[in-house]
Symmetry: C2
Subunit: 454 residues, 2 copies
């Protein structure tokens, strides 16, 4: 057993006590009454880093302060940036908590408190991984930067701006984020991909007023019929989007990825049952997991036209509209999708209507190659602590801040979470399994060692 691991084991109880101290600070970012607590929490974090010899900086923002901390330079070694947040969700409804949210309580091997897993507990694992190195070895094997914000639960506005303006200061080889979960209890995961998104609104206009569907019907292009036709025309019978060039830049699933997914304990039947369904549909030739994680989509998010009330109204509506979005996968480019979509809508539009297309959001997907040495370093750190290799997963949604890190810093993002699905993040009785807390610290300490070899 290494000296680092021995240190971690012998100080485990103190680590828990320190985390409890951190959790007692009610740093609810959404509530203006907690503004002083936000500063206390930031100061508490700064104090931890100072004691470990980091250079620290409290960055004032229009909202709550960010903490920046940088380890002493290790020449020739890679640089990792750890991102986390010290703010927490509101605690309401308070009467649903078994123990008070800001009085951390141990029950059944878990530590209950608001922020236990999201994200104070997980962030703290990386701070303790640093402490072990600094105390035992006198120095870290890699260069580390920590960027810890206080506004994750309210939109990360200051952080996004800071990333755009201070890419030089934050320059790194990889970004480490532990703000999520394992695939299943004791089955840690590395999330190596996120989907992006292109979101639109389409407005279709026909006659200059609502018409009587008897007097005019049959001769006038119905904007609602036209809208349905256009939207339907965006996907073919194989569940593939018909926009020209849509799949040109899609990074195909590798054989390794497909077998990694197939080996996961994921039961399609159970998945559908949990949302009240017997079955799904999707792009032909892919499993449900592949469709969710690694293939682009077309989903209508909203539809409206004409009469939506009770009974019947014989109206030929003047307008119709829809909101719809494409989940994108690497390397699809939202700007190219937009251009192709405009062209396709023009092709699909019948005479007698005009269309207006509004673009709401565009964000590309994120994908780290499974062959990346940083991925392997993280896998080794996790294997060391959890006693098994992590599984490799992706996420179907986008995490805007992850995309932002990826875009601004051009670095590999390692999403390695220690949480579990039943941790009650954002709900009453949030918890963090103590075994995961300690495994997380051990994985983190090992990660610094492995990253040094990259």
């Amino acid at each position: 057993m290494s000296a680092i691991d021995q240190y971690l084991d012998s100080h485990a109880t103190r680590f828990e006590e320190e985390l409890c101290e951190f959790l007692r600070i009610p740093s609810v970012s959404a509530d203006a009454n907690h503004r002083p607590d936000m500063h206390r929490a930031a100061d508490w974090v700064v104090d931890q880093f100072r004691r470990m010899g980091f250079a620290t900086d409290v960055i004032a923002t229009a909202g709550h302060p960010m903490v920046y901390a940088e380890s002493p330079k290790v020449p020739g070694a890679p640089t990792a940036l750890v991102y986390g947040h010290y703010d927490v969700q509101p605690v309401e409804p308070l009467d649903k908590w078994i123990s008070p949210p800001f009085e951390p309580t141990r029950r059944d091997g878990n530590l209950y408190a608001r922020g236990a897993t999201d994200d104070k507990g997980q962030l703290f694992t990386h701070m303790k991984g640093v402490e072990a190195w600094v105390t035992v070895e006198g120095r870290l094997p890699v260069n580390l930067k920590f960027l810890i914000e206080g506004e994750e639960e309210v939109g990360s506005q200051a952080l996004e701006k800071y990333l755009e303006e201070h890419a030089d200061r934050l320059a790194c080889d990889c970004v480490v984020i532990s703000d999520g979960g394992q695939f299943a209890p004791g089955m840690p995961a590395i999330n190596y991909g996120l989907r992006g998104i292109s979101y639109f609104e389409l407005r279709v206009t026909g006659p200059d007023r609502d018409l009587h569907s008897g007097s005019f019907g049959g001769s006038v292009t119905n904007p609602a019929n036209a809208l349905c036709k256009i939207l339907t025309g965006l996907m073919d019978s194989q569940g593939r989007v018909t926009i020209p060039g849509f799949y040109d830049d899609v990074v195909p699933l590798t054989d390794r990825e497909r077998s990694e997914y197939a080996a996961l304990p994921f039961d399609e039947k159970e998945y559908f049952e949990q949302i009240g369904l017997k079955q799904g549909t999707g792009e032909v030739g892919y499993t449900a997991l592949e469709r969710r994680w690694a293939r682009p989509t077309f989903d209508i998010n909203g539809l409206w036209s004409g009469y939506q009330g009770d009974g019947a109204k014989t109206v030929l509506p003047a307008t119709a509209g829809a909101k719809f979005s494409f989940r994108l996968v690497p390397d699809q480019d939202p700007a190219k999708i937009y251009e192709g979509l405009k062209q396709k809508i023009a092709e699909l539009s019948p005479p007698g209507i005009t269309t207006e297309l509004l673009e709401f959001q565009g964000a590309p997907g994120v994908l780290v190659s499974l062959d990346s040495p940083y991925i392997e370093a993280a896998a080794k750190g996790i294997q060391h602590a959890f006693g098994r290799r992590p599984v490799f997963t992706r996420e179907g949604g986008s995490i805007p801040i992850v995309t932002k890190f990826h875009q601004c810093l051009g670095a590999v993002v390692l999403l390695i979470g220690w949480g579990q699905d039943d941790d009650n993040t954002h709900s009453p009785n949030e918890k963090f399994a103590l075994v995961d807390f300690h495994r997380g610290i051990k994985a983190s300490a090992k990660l610094w060692e492995e990253l040094a070899k990259c």
Copy 2:
């Protein structure tokens, strides 16, 4: 010149005075304050018929009374039923009237008053046509029945029930209705067809709650996508409805009808411009008039799903819905359409959703053959009075009470109106051109003669 026409000419002024008397009764059916006026108007009509030797009956209803009048029996002659209504629309906004609505006023060859054309003035033309025969010849050449209601402007509920329950009493060869207009001033029309309707609501249900379109999108059938696909699948690229058997019972346009329509002063460009359009679309192979009058349609009347507010919401909606209708033409049967639609929706539905179809209204279309002797009788009556043959038109909408007459009595319905498009029915300054009033009387008197030959 016939004795009948001479009589009509020499009593023209008195006819106008009598009509003014009728118009002075403010028989607004919608306003409970006018209940005594409704009875006065009914009594006034009854008195007219009594003086012409008709058997009369004031039929009490839950609302306003109906008047029934029947001529002395003419053995061996056909029977016509004249339908009209003595009630009028409310007059608001009163300050927009140039002369008070219940003080009939002559201006520029028109008679201004509420009810002048809708329907007291037009109904009265048929009463005066009778008077000429009774006075000049001592008897009518045909059997006539008049059914005059006081609730046309508020839904005709009592009339519908009466038609269902007293088909024997009302038995006739044709129904004459003058409650509409000419095609253009001085260009009288016989409307010989109405479209019917089948109206539905389709509800599509997918997962048991709204889902995150990122986490689930691609694997779950989106109810809004499915709805658009189903609706779009109900019409092919030629503008034809795809429901099995949909066109089986459609009475095709005859060559005569197509040339009658083509000869009408109807400018497609102008038609579209009036509703803010440059062009329309519709079933391939038909003109705009043919599409509106004689071909069935599929129009979406309402659409809804997911998020309809500002901005973007990345939701995969749990449900989606639409209201839509088919305008039917003779001899399409709403019950068969409903069955075919259910089958087609089942075919078009992707896996992973359930559908619920609600049927709201079903009414068949009405069509009188242009070869009918009753049509020719009406055409001759009109030609005699207006100095030209009528044009033959249809109406794209349905007129429920006309369908009801057609269904309950199995008789040919003759829709022959003397009004003009600018008569301001239902608006301030309603009018009836005096020339049309007198031409209407003359056409009516001639109609009785022509009908006798059928």
